[in-house]
Symmetry: C2
Subunit: 632 residues, 2 copies
């Protein structure tokens, strides 16, 4: 057995920011080197950010990625970091394919490289390309067909064989995992960009353990963190032994370095079934094993010094010192001495995803502040609270826009929230403006009914945008997923804005998150941020006298359960009735949801926390006469 | 040689409307039977409409498609049409695949079936799945791996072998075309759903000829017509001989039946290389040939009677009677006796695509009328004209919304257009409304500048939506592609609406189309629809005193040429400069285009006429720091 000190750097990259991402790689390699790591693993496509979408098809971008990779290797060497083996993701291309219909332009690769001694030592590319849910990789990439195995010299003349696979290569059967076993590698390192979904972390852990056993190798899974449009990457990097035992697990939703000493079989102890060359990948394809040996340029005789400290027992891929050898640090310098970063519970996890989604969308798009309409209701209260947690209350501007139909509590509850959190607030009454519209639209335009209700909502939308344009704030929309599903919103009204923090949050979860956030504040002795009355009062759009959501929609507990089955589980009418939903309600809700497709298309993006957030993960035609209520 | 009378039915289907589409199939089979056709070919997925997007992943929809296909076969028989071999597209599924990660849920197939004698005689599925441009078929389908060859009895105890391939199977090398030759079929029939793009018709003709030669069979290419969200299918069905000679070509952008007598090698005259079973498909896969013989239930001794009349010369797959045997009819009963329907010229073709796109989007989404803001400028003038041509001037409502900054000619030109075309017009001045907003927004809000300009545009957007909500009209946006590319529009202002007829039309083409439409009217002695002054005056948004587009943008001839290279051809900065664009302008325009990504995402769909219409065919992240001007 030999000891390898590995670092997993779960960092926050930005799509297209090659220079900035290269800087991130150098910075975190420096941190890893300071802790004497011999190898540092970065997420999938860390150099380009992920997902790059159609940028993969632009020749100039691919060339820039390849050039930046080479320059990064040189820079690491120049900065005295050349002795660390850096595994980073980037965008590459195959040069041996003739362009033809059906082949992505330029034959791009979702690639990974090992940088060492100032050079790009070996490269490979993702073999399994996901093309479901939010993924479109058959559009962007051609599959990789090699398994790189690099031999790392470690202490005492020993060495370890390390293989590289990428993200989806773990999720699908066969491919690089199968070939890793044939190649006899001791460690499989896997750069990932796996977006957050509620409960997905449990699936990932089980997956890593299973694939490690299949590969017969310890497995290091390093996941991206950060928001990118609708996607939120949660980090939560994982280290498991060859027997599938969890050795270390990083924080969720923050940048961190996870450093561990692994006891792994010496390369000399392993007799690979196949040394180099083509191997049946057990998925109907052939993968070629490519080997390279890194020169020993560490200048050290072995692992030692501060940080992860090692020694002791352990089987194939155990953490030296039974877990004591793991140290983690965040960007802010927070440290955890132990293998498992404290985990968030289910609701805290969702809340963290929403906060990170907002923070990164604001920051990465060049905004510093946000503005939103505050109604006194729970949706805008929670949205404001998430925003304040994301970018600080001093950067959150709210607008109170009362009308004739606004209740007293709508204003007092909104003012209460402003005071609790210290937000910037202005009041812009809408009555005189809607009156001006009515006067010009003439007598044909009705004083009550849907057109009149929409008009109020749109006047508020225009006010939000006017304040946004004038002050440079990003407008946040406050609609929740239940409303969005049923089309209970106004185009260019409450749906106007740049980002929708709770667009993937069902109304029942809005309440749950609000209660959790208040409880959390109470537990930590902080000010309770959300007025309790906003949580407990019956929801209303307040666009007509005495209006309640339940006038138009079923109770949210009933509605949300049905939406979950129809949207998330994609059940048809018969199946929905079979699992116990009221047939009349099924017909009504299917109709509402299907007819609202256009509205949802126009809705701003927002952080995805479910299987289907009405974004890239659910793609239905607008023009569409398939509503099961009409046919059976 | 034997004679086969074939009909190509290029029909207009609607996504999800199984019952309506089944009705279309029965109706056009009846027309084909009335002309004594022995086989009638429908477009790709004619029963479900195309593209169905995520409906393919819904089990209930797949089951309904399969059931409707079976019922359609029975109904055709019941209506006395069972003797016609009907080749129609539908949605099916493979039942022999175990669900796994990466496999589309339910293993759907983009399928085709032969209906005859009341039964579904044989089925197959698309082998090559396009996953580029507007296509995402790797997400929705698993590939087919069979080539069906059905033997049709014709006159005098003879018979003809017919193979079936689907759309993309023609575009990619190898696969069903290669196997058709091995199977020795005399005719390859190909259901298609190939969206219109300017100039694509020339590519298709060359493709059909080439594939016919490769297959060694006559080739019948039947394409969908109609609008479906952003896509417009143009029909333009093609019949070529085994030597690639064009035998018949249908109309563009309208439903039609193309009936032709083909002289084809008798099945007895051909010795296939491979009769049944697996064959190397020359694309790295294996395809199995499946054969079936249709019983002779025609009750006729041979081809005869009205319609396509036959006899005479011709080699393998020539039209009997050297072209005289082709008859076409449209839905309206218009007839063409001859093999080639008169073709539209380049600009007429684009105009027809825009008109059909608008007509079908309005109709298929349940609207009868549209509303748009009329400024007196050329964009709204052309949009109104397209709408009037699509659904009749009596269904087009326009709103004149003058402000302080509106020039005199903006009102007079708009009124001129209203009179020329007989549209419904109302005037809603915006000054009092913007004053009301300013009054409530307070002194912080500036009287001039971008926020003030956007406010005017948004007030107009709210008025459009108010009139739409009140009258049930669909709002048409009037933005052109040059504006959309550069972000020269206002979110929720001029971009508010349900459909954007000219969103894929560059400004220079807006002028060209307008001139063409006026010339066309003059040629046919009709009223010239567009006020000449709207075409000739310099373009202005009129949101500030004396404002001209050229204050913010380069001249449109220069801009459009650059946009074409950057957007359509996906050239990078260096390449753009190398082909002669001004370096400073390249930097500026790349920046403008990239920053406008969010605005474009919020823009309504519109008929696609180019390679990249800023829709499903161009997918870039909003959060994106790749702007080449910053890096090289």
């Amino acid at each position: 057995m030999a000891t390898l000190r590995i670092a997993l750097a779960q960092v926050n990259t930005t799509v297209g920011d090659l220079a900035g991402n290269a800087e991130v790689i150098v910075e975190w390699t420096r941190r890893a080197a300071a802790r004497q790591a011999q190898i540092v693993l970065f997420p999938e496509m860390s150099l380009t950010g992920y997902p790059v979408e159609d940028l993969a098809l632009r020749a100039s971008f691919v060339e820039a990625s390849i050039a930046t990779l080479r320059e990064s290797a040189e820079r690491l060497q120049a900065e005295g970091l050349g002795q660390v083996a850096v595994v980073a993701g980037y965008l590459d291309r195959r040069t041996d394919l003739v362009p033809r219909t059906g082949l992505p332009a330029g034959a791009p690769l979702d690639a990974a490289a090992v940088l060492h001694g100032g050079r790009v030592v070996i490269t490979s590319a993702k073999h399994h390309l996901p093309n479901y849910g939010v993924f479109d990789e058959a559009r962007y990439f051609v599959p990789g067909n090699t398994l790189p195995v690099f031999r790392m010299p470690v202490s005492g003349g020993e060495s370890i064989d390390v293989a590289v696979a990428i993200c989806e290569d773990l999720w699908q059967d066969g491919g690089p995992v199968a070939v890793t076993r044939r190649a006899g590698a001791s460690l499989l390192v896997v750069p990932n960009a796996s977006p957050y979904e509620r409960g997905k972390d449990d699936v990932r852990l089980e997956l890593c353990a299973r694939r490690a056993r299949q590969a017969g190798a310890a497995l290091a899974y390093c996941n991206l963190i950060g928001g990118q449009d609708e996607l939120v990457f949660d980090g939560d990097s994982i280290l498991v032994s060859a027997t599938g035992e969890l050795l270390a697990r990083g924080p969720q939703f923050e940048e961190a370095l996870i450093v561990a000493d692994l006891e792994l079989p010496n390369a000399g102890e392993v007799s690979p079934e196949t040394s180099v060359g083509p191997v049946d990948a057990e998925d109907g394809t052939v993968i070629t094993i490519q080997r390279v040996t890194l020169p020993d340029i560490s200048g050290r005789s072995g692992v030692g010094g501060g940080g992860a400290g090692g020694g002791g027992a352990g089987g194939g891929g155990a953490v030296a010192g039974a877990g004591a050898g793991v140290v983690m640090e965040t960007a802010a310098g927070e440290e955890e001495h132990g293998p498992f970063w404290p985990r968030l519970d289910d609701i805290a996890e969702v809340y963290a995803a929403l906060v990170l989604g907002v923070r990164d969308y604001v920051r990465k798009n060049g905004f510093r502040s946000v503005v939103l309409g505050l109604s006194g209701g729970i949706d805008s209260a929670l949205t404001a609270t998430i925003a304040a947690d994301a970018i600080g209350p001093e950067n959150v501007h709210v607008i109170l826009m009362p009308s004739h139909w606004s209740s007293d509590h709508s204003v007092t509850d909104a003012e209460d929230l402003v005071q609790r959190q210290g937000l910037h607030a202005v009041t812009v009454p809408i009555q005189a403006i809607t009156d001006a519209f009515r006067s010009e639209l003439g007598d044909d335009f009705p004083a009550v009914g849907l057109p009149a209700e929409n008009l109020q909502s749109r006047v508020r939308g225009v006010i939000n945008m006017a304040v946004s344009n004038n002050g440079g704030h990003l407008v946040l929309t406050t609609g929740n997923k239940s409303e969005l599903a049923c089309g209970y919103s106004t185009l260019y009204g409450d749906s106007a804005g740049g980002y929708g923090p709770i667009k993937d949050v069902l109304k029942t979860l809005v309440w749950e998150l609000s209660r959790w956030r208040n409880d959390h504040a109470e537990r930590t002795g902080a000010t309770v941020p959300i007025p309790p009355n906003s949580i407990t009062k019956p929801p209303s759009a307040e666009l007509a006298p005495g209006q309640l959501d339940t006038d138009s929609l079923p109770p949210y507990e009933v509605l949300d359960a049905l939406l979950d089955d129809y949207v998330e589980k994609d059940m048809g009418s018969a199946e929905l009735i079979a699992v116990g939903h009221d047939p009349e309600l099924v017909a009504r809700v299917i109709r509402l949801v299907d007819l609202a497709e256009y509205k949802r298309r126009q809705y701003p993006p927002g952080p995805k926390i479910s299987i289907k957030n009405f974004g890239r993960d659910r793609r239905l035609p607008i023009t569409n006469r398939w509503r099961e209520t009409f046919t059976g």
